[in-house]
Amino acid sequence: MDYIGKSNLRVDAYAKVTGNAKYSADLAPRDAYIAKVLHSTIANGEVVSMDVSEAKKVPGVIGVFTCFDVPDVEFPTAGHPWSVEESHQDIADRKLLNKRVRLYGDDIAAVVAEDNVACDRALKLIKVEYKEYPVHTDARSMLNDKDAPVLHPNWRKDNIIAHTAFNSSEYFNYDEVKKNAITKYGEENLIEVVKNVKTPRISHSHIELPVSYAYVDANGKVTVVASTQIPHIGRRVIAQALNIPWGKVRVIKPYIGGGFGNKQDMLYEPLNAWLSVKCGGHPVLLEISREETIVCTRTRHPMDGDLRALATKDGRLLCRELINYSTNGGYAAHGHSITAKCAGIFKNLYRDELGVRSEAYTVWTNAPTSAAMRAYGVPQAVSFAETLTDDICVKGGFDPYKFRMDNICDENTSAGGAMFYTYGLKKCMEIGAEKIGWTKKREEYKNQTGPIRRGIGMCCFIYQTAVAPIALETSTVRMILNQDGSMQLSIGATEIGQGADTAFTQICAESTGISPDKVFIMSSQDTDVTPFDTGAYGSRQTYVTGNSIKECGILFKKKICEYALTMEEEKSLAGKKIDDLDVFENYVVDKNTKEKLVSLEKLSTTAFYSFKHNQHITAEKTTDITTNTFASGCTFVDVEVDMPLGIINIKDIISVHDSGTLINPALATAQVHGGMSMSLGYGMSEELILDPKTGKPYNDNLLEYKIPTAMDSPDFKVEFVVMKDPTGGYGNKALGEPPTVAPAVAIRNAVLNATGIGFNEFPLTAQRLVHEFKEKGMI
């Protein structure tokens, strides 16, 4: 391969480093009005009345719009492909502004003004009268209150979005299996672990806040320029929310400063569009604050899982059970999808000899709405499964590395339409164990005493590449030749900071033979211009869009070669047939000898301006992907625990990934660094805390909500097991989300190794550590 596997400079490196890249807010017209949203100060209840008379008098205010003014339309917000089957459609449970308040910070009114100061002054003057209901901020407490008001009576008779169970077989029952196991092996030959694990509500914390500006163009098209991962889905959702034909909406996505799944939902774009319509189509800029982003957009699901596992004393995993209560917050957004994915990965990560049960509830609560966040339920699944594994190992006296080698899913694993077309998990484990010095350190760290102790831990994961066959995986790509032999690559898939445009450029170069410096990727998506693709999520784009680029490139190249055969004046081409030709490094060449026959520059100038064979060479291809291949990997970590202060110091950490061929190794490594850093936050410091009585957030800002800083980050080590996957365009598998799955749990397991305490509530904050150590009399 000529252009794959090379660490090309990012195509947007100069634009972003110099600050010349334009983001949504940079592009808003100078005369755009500013909009701000009024949020509820109760977590459950109804807006009885609102007095906006004083707010309207503030100089500079254009309009004040309330939950009593919006269209009586409920719409879905999830960044899922639409389904033509009603039963597969997302839950439409949200209005542009809501009278029925379901979380602290719900959107109840909006002010449009000439500037933000006028907005702020007007917001303060709006008087709201509420009727309040009791508040439940987590799934269990909501389920336990049989009299809790139903938040979405149009959709369900209670607050359960869904309740499912994935069992290894239809008749699997943990208690019965346990009874049989006792009869077969004898109770004295078995070990059981029973526990509960809780994961935190965390915020994506992308740098660029959700921002958009909207206007109605001269022909009546409602246009929204937005920082979104999903422009084409956004068009559909905005149209649904405004109850207008889908074609009447146009969404433009410029450069965006991160999303991590938060922008895989329509957030304030529909409201922004409606506010512009209400203001006569004048441009309106709606940029929410960090505080609003943390509370009023989306979060990762807090999950609360009851776990049981049974193993034999010689280290065979017999069966496991998870009953998971997942807190979804006030609105459905992605519905049960994320909790279901969590359930699936928990089930599939191990080969349970006698079976497994993975049961899940997703529950509406009076809390910030949970939806997609990098790795879509899998960090929680692995928090359940991989803490359970190490607890079994402690109880049984097993080496966690060996226990995993013996029991973890193998190359024959297949579930939900996904399978390992290539399997590198055990190879990853071998490399990680060797690099961290597993055997030596496990020995060295035995029988420690004293207040400062060392420990070593590991964690494994598997991850589906994209979302087929559960959801549609489609991508359309367009290629356009320029007069000088360069080309435009136009795709609906989105660069959101992850480096997709660079990977796409390399894939395009590989498939067309046009060198990357002559491939001009159109980084901005415009739903009126850009071909359809569902966007950036699910670690799908390099796989799905990548396959589509490859297919389109093959077609494009064929058209170029066909045109070459019409160039009768080119002696070098005389007598050649289509099968003899290829494109390589910007020349049409002889496929076998690589002899240069005609330059693409000459070919394209001729094609554009020839009187005899005039042709604008373009290609377009839609590729629908139905395969799904598992990526996998693991993290190993060596920690020092300062017990009197509750501090975990990471001495060494390495992640090893089985993600197939690396399109761009430098970007792949950077992707893993970012994921590891994010997992450190989930594992050790990040949690959005609500007052359980009122639902009011305590730490809705980046000072109180603790993202690790560069100073907190150890040297992240990364290794890859590269195996060419037959289903990836060029052998590649998922890598966008997987890096953020394992590190947190590896740290937890290392702390267990160091101190003998298995923490079951993430993040492992110093306060939680100190509390446990004090309780156990260790400090």
Partner: protein, 297 residues
Amino acid sequence: MFDISFLYEAKDVKDAIKKLTENENSEIVSGGTDVLIRVREGKDAGMGLVSIHNIDELKGIKQDSNGNIIIGAGTCFYNINHNEIIQKHIPSLGEAVNTVGGPQIRQTGTIGGNICNGATSADSASTMTALEADIVLEGPNGERIVNIKDFYTGPGKTVRDRCEVCKCFVIKKENFENYFGYYFKYGKRKSLEIATLGCSVLVKLNSSKDTIDDVKIAYGVAAPTPSRAPSAEAFAKGKKLTENFLEEFGEKALSDMKPRDSWRASKEFREQLIKEMAKRSLVNSIRRAGGKIEYYV
């Protein structure tokens, strides 16, 4: 755009006092790292701001003829930490202000703002308390000097009148000469952090470096205002370094504090930190003073 009614650049201290006196709904801004945040949050929205940012007489560090150190209130954290006088005589203050926020904030935020903001968590506050700094204020009725122990009246509250400008801090020679110090900031992360607990210790050893002549220990966030731990100080005086006194020193320090339970940190957690940080800060100070003492860190 910030919601402020005006921004006035004062020419000198008297000019600032005049403007503040004339405008009841106005306050001082210097680095802006606290005031602008309050404006953004809406707490101080609509106020007029009187800037003392460009008044040169408020900046810089010098020693007077008696050897006392005078720190201009408008000196930013970066310049304090990089000042020769500070590095030579009270390096632990430099260390303390070097833990404030991140590099950008330390170039902008000032020690005057840090103290006058009244926060118990301010990184300079515990060290300034241990150093027994005098605070020089000037208002419409002239100049007055308040010792830091009398300065704080509650969380976010001080004796400073709205129209008074904090001009400088005076640290007397007897309060730093032959003392060696250590500032321990405990945060939930290593940068961009407000202290969960701050502990500052100054220690003076005898000439043979085997006995504690004097100790001062002050905390931030262990009580509503920055506070010394008098019984711990009294207990440690005269202790030989070979004696086993650290555990009890930590207990005494805890008995002097009033930690509370909040969502940020439990009482149990704060109590543990108060004890442990007292011990570690004292050990580090003793070692800096040239003394030898056994401890596991």
